[in-house]
C-alpha cells in the first residue's frame, strides 16, 4: 500500500480500517464529504462509501446534528427512489452516527466531465475548420444529436424523480453519472450510433445529501433552477439548448410538470432581478 499515500492523506473512517483484500480507494473529496471505493461482502462487489467527516470549522453540536440528519435523509430518499424506479445507487449499509453510508458502485463518468469533453472536442473540430470555436451549441446539427439525446435523458430522469416527490436539492451535472450501457442493451432513443460514444449511457442521479421530500411546485421549480444555473455556469455554450430541452422533455414527465415550468419562470425572475443593496 505504499503507492497510495495520497489516498491516506486523510484519516480513514473507522469502518474502512478493517483488514481487507481490496484496500479502500479515495475517489473524491466532494463538498460534503469523501467518497471511497471499497467492496461489500465479497471482493467482487464494489461499493461506494460516503463518509461525512466532522467539519472542524463548524460548531460540534451543529456539525453532529447536520451530519446525522443528512445521512438519514439521504438513505431514506435513495431507498424511495430505488423503490419507485428512479435510477439511483442502491443503499447497502448505514451508520448515521459514525457519518457513513455504503451504497452500490456506479460505473461510468460524471455527466459534467462527459459534456465538457464533448464541448472541447466540438471546439477543436470548429477550430480545425478555421472558426473561433466558441459558437453557441444550437442542437440542430447532426453532430449535436448525442448531446440533445443526453439532455433529454437528464430532463426525463429529473422528471421521474420529481414525479415521486423527491427534491434533489443540489442538482448539478457533477451529481449525475453516465453509466455505460451493457453491450447489446443500448436503447433506441435517438442517440447517434455513428458518434464517438462519449455521451452514451444511462443517467444515474447521485448524491442525495441535500434531498428532501416534497411535491410542491415551488420546490420542484427551485430544484430545476439550481440545475439550470449550475449548467449555465459550467457549460455556458449549451445553456440555451439545455433550457429548451429541459422544458420540452420535463413537461411530459408527470401531470403537474407544466405548472412547475410556469413556476420556474417566476423563480428565474426572482433570482435575476432581486433587489441588491450594498
Amino acid at each position: 500500500m505504499a503507492a497510495d499515500s495520497a489516498t491516506h492523506a486523510f484519516p480513514l473512517p473507522a469502518i474502512l480500517e478493517y483488514p481487507s483484500s481490496t484496500p479502500p480507494q479515495l475517489i473524491t473529496q466532494g463538498a460534503e464529504g469523501r467518497l471511497y471505493k471499497s467492496t461489500y461482502l465479497l471482493p467482487s462487489i464494489p461499493c461506494a462509501l460516503k463518509y461525512r467527516p466532522p467539519k472542524p470549522w463548524r460548531h460540534p453540536v451543529l456539525d453532529a446534528r447536520l451530519t446525522r440528519h443528512r445521512i438519514l435523509a439521504e438513505a431514506r430518499n435513495l431507498a424511495k427512489c430505488r423503490r419507485e424506479g428512479v435510477p439511483v445507487p442502491t443503499v447497502y449499509a448505514i451508520d448515521e452516527s459514525a457519518g457513513w453510508l455504503m451504497m452500490e458502485w456506479v460505473a461510468g463518468v460524471p455527466v459534467r466531465a462527459a459534456i465538457n469533453e464533448w464541448l472541447q472536442r466540438r471546439r477543436d473540430a470548429e477550430r480545425a475548420e478555421g472558426r473561433s470555436g466558441d459558437a453557441i451549441v444550437e442542437g440542430t446539427r447532426d453532430a449535436d444529436a448525442d448531446l440533445v439525446a443526453l439532455l433529454r435523458r437528464i430532463a426525463a430522469a429529473v422528471g421521474r424523480m420529481h414525479k415521486i416527490g423527491i427534491i434533489h436539492g443540489d442538482l448539478t451535472t457533477s451529481n449525475m453519472m453516465l453509466r455505460p450501457w451493457e453491450r447489446g442493451k443500448e436503447p433506441a432513443n435517438g442517440h447517434n450510433v455513428e458518434g464517438d460514444g462519449l455521451l452514451e449511457g444511462d443517467i444515474v442521479i447521485i448524491d442525495f445529501g441535500l434531498a428532501s421530500q416534497s411535491t410542491s411546485e415551488e420546490d420542484r421549480a427551485v430544484d430545476l433552477y439550481v440545475l439550470e444555473r449550475a449548467f449555465t455556469s459550467t457549460h455556458s455554450r449549451a445553456e440555451k439548448l439545455f433550457t429548451t430541452i429541459l422544458e420540452s422533455e420535463y413537461r411530459e414527465a408527470f401531470k403537474q410538470a407544466p405548472i412547475v415550468l410556469k413556476k420556474l419562470e417566476d423563480v428565474r425572475m426572482r433570482g435575476r432581478k432581486r433587489s441588491m443593496l450594498g
Binding site: 451543529l62 444555473r229 432581478k273
Partner: protein
C-alpha cells in the same frame, strides 16, 4: 499614505473613484503603472453615516450625508494623493447595485466632477469593484469569491469573461441579518453593527453553548430571514428570562432543560450558524469548479471568525483563503477607481447621457473584458 507625485511614472493612468451605494461615502485615487502592471493606492478616504442604536440607515438621511460630505472627502482624497485634477484619466462612480437615493447623490457629484475637470466617466458595478480590489490586494489569481455584505451574499466564480453567480441568498443578505439583529439587541452601530456582534460573540466562545437556530442551505443558495426571525424569538425569550430574574424568580426552568439566553450567546450562535452556511456553500462551489482558492470580500468579510472558518475549510481542501482588512473589505472608493480603471483601459466609457445609476445591477451583467 500620501504617495509623492514624483514617484508615479508620468505615463501612469490615474483614476478617482466615488462610492456611495450604502452608508459609506468613499473616494479613492489609484494609479496603474502601464509598464509593470502594478497599481498603487494614492488615497482612500471614507466617511460613514452612523445611525443611532436600534435604527438602521434610511435612504434619505444617507443621501443627505453623502451630499454634505462629498466635497470635503474629495478634497482630502486629492490632498492625500498629492495630484492635481488635471492628472486624472477618468472619474469612476458606482452605477449600482445599492440604495437609490445615496447612489443618485454620488452619481450627480461624479458627473459634476467630470464636467468641471473635463474627464470621462466610468460607471462601475459595485460587486465587481469588490472582487477586483480583493484580487488586486491579495494577489489571488482565479479564486472562488464569497461576497458578503449588508446588501449582498453571493458565491461567485469567473468563467468566460463574466463573474458568474453560483449561489446567493434567497432573501436578505447575511450582513442585513446581522445588522437587524444588532437592532433587536440595541447594539451600537458604531463603527459597525457586525463588528460589535463579533466582539460580543467572543464572550461566549469559552462555554461554547449553541442556541438552536434553523440552518437554511438549499443547494448553493441560502436563506437568512427565517434565522433572523428565530433569533429575534430567542431575544424575546431572553427578555422574559430577564424579567423573571428582576422579579426575584429563577430566570430559567432548569428541570425542563432551559438554557439561560444572553446577548453574547445569541450573537455567538447566530454567527456560528450563518457563517457555517456561508462556508458550506462556498465549499460546494469550490468542489464544483475544482478551485482551492477562496477570496472573501464585502463588509462581512472583515469578520475574523468567518475568515478563520473559511481558512480551516480551505486548508482541508489543500488551498487557502484570501481576505483583506477593513480598508478594502468595507465599501470604499478605491475599489471603484480600480475596477473603473480596468474597464477604462479596455476602452470602456460611460457617456454623460447614460451616466445613470440603478438599484438592480447583477454581478453577471458586466462584461469582464480585462480578463481572459
Amino acid at each position: 499614505m500620501a504617495a509623492p507625485v514624483d514617484r508615479i511614472p508620468s505615463d501612469a493612468l490615474i483614476a478617482l473613484g466615488c462610492e456611495g451605494s450604502a452608508n459609506k461615502l468613499g473616494i479613492g485615487i489609484i494609479a496603474h503603472d502601464p509598464t509593470t502592471g502594478k497599481s498603487s493606492v494614492l488615497a482612500n478616504i471614507r466617511h460613514t453615516f452612523v445611525s443611532p442604536p436600534g435604527t438602521g440607515f434610511l435612504p434619505k438621511d444617507t443621501a443627505r450625508h453623502h451630499r454634505s460630505f462629498f466635497v470635503q472627502v474629495a478634497r482630502s482624497a486629492l490632498r492625500a494623493a498629492g495630484i492635481p485634477p488635471s492628472r486624472l484619466a477618468c472619474i469612476c462612480y458606482t452605477k449600482g447595485p445599492g440604495m437609490g437615493a445615496p447612489l443618485q447623490s454620488v452619481a450627480v457629484a461624479a458627473r459634476t466632477l467630470s464636467l468641471l475637470w473635463d474627464k470621462p466617466l466610468v460607471g462601475v458595478n459595485h460587486c465587481v469593484g469588490h472582487i477586483e480590489m480583493g484580487r488586486e490586494i491579495t494577489g489571488a489569481g482565479n479564486p472562488v469569491v464569497l461576497y458578503v455584505s449588508g446588501g449582498n451574499s453571493q458565491v461567485i466564480a469567473y468563467a468566460e469573461q463574466r463573474y458568474r453567480i453560483f449561489g446567493e441568498t434567497l432573501d436578505i443578505a447575511v450582513g442585513n441579518c446581522l445588522d437587524r439583529f444588532a437592532r433587536t439587541l440595541n447594539i451600537s452601530n458604531d463603527p459597525a453593527p457586525g463588528h460589535n456582534i463579533e466582539q460580543l460573540a467572543k464572550q461566549a466562545v469559552a462555554d461554547g453553548i449553541l442556541l438552536d437556530l434553523p440552518y437554511a442551505v438549499k443547494g448553493m443558495d441560502c436563506s437568512f430571514s427565517g434565522i433572523l426571525a428565530a433569533a429575534d424569538g430567542l431575544a424575546a425569550q431572553m427578555q422574559e428570562q430577564d424579567a423573571r430574574e428582576a422579579r426575584g424568580e429563577p430566570a430559567v426552568d432548569e428541570a425542563a432543560g432551559e438554557v439561560r439566553i444572553t446577548p453574547a450567546r445569541l450573537c455567538y450562535s447566530l454567527q456560528e450558524t450563518v457563517f457555517a452556511m456561508l462556508v458550506e456553500i462556498t465549499e460546494r462551489a469550490m468542489a464544483h469548479v475544482g478551485s482551492a482558492q477562496v477570496l472573501i470580500v464585502g463588509g462581512v468579510g472583515c469578520n475574523e471568525r468567518l475568515q478563520a472558518m473559511m481558512g480551516q475549510m480551505a486548508a482541508e481542501r489543500g488551498g487557502s483563503v484570501y481576505a483583506t482588512d477593513e480598508r478594502f473589505c468595507i465599501d470604499n472608493g478605491i475599489m471603484i477607481a480600480h475596477a473603473g480603471l480596468l474597464a477604462f483601459e479596455t476602452g470602456f466609457r460611460t457617456p454623460l447621457a447614460e451616466s445613470t445609476c440603478t438599484q438592480r445591477f447583477r454581478t453577471d451583467e458586466v462584461h469582464v473584458k480585462w480578463r481572459d
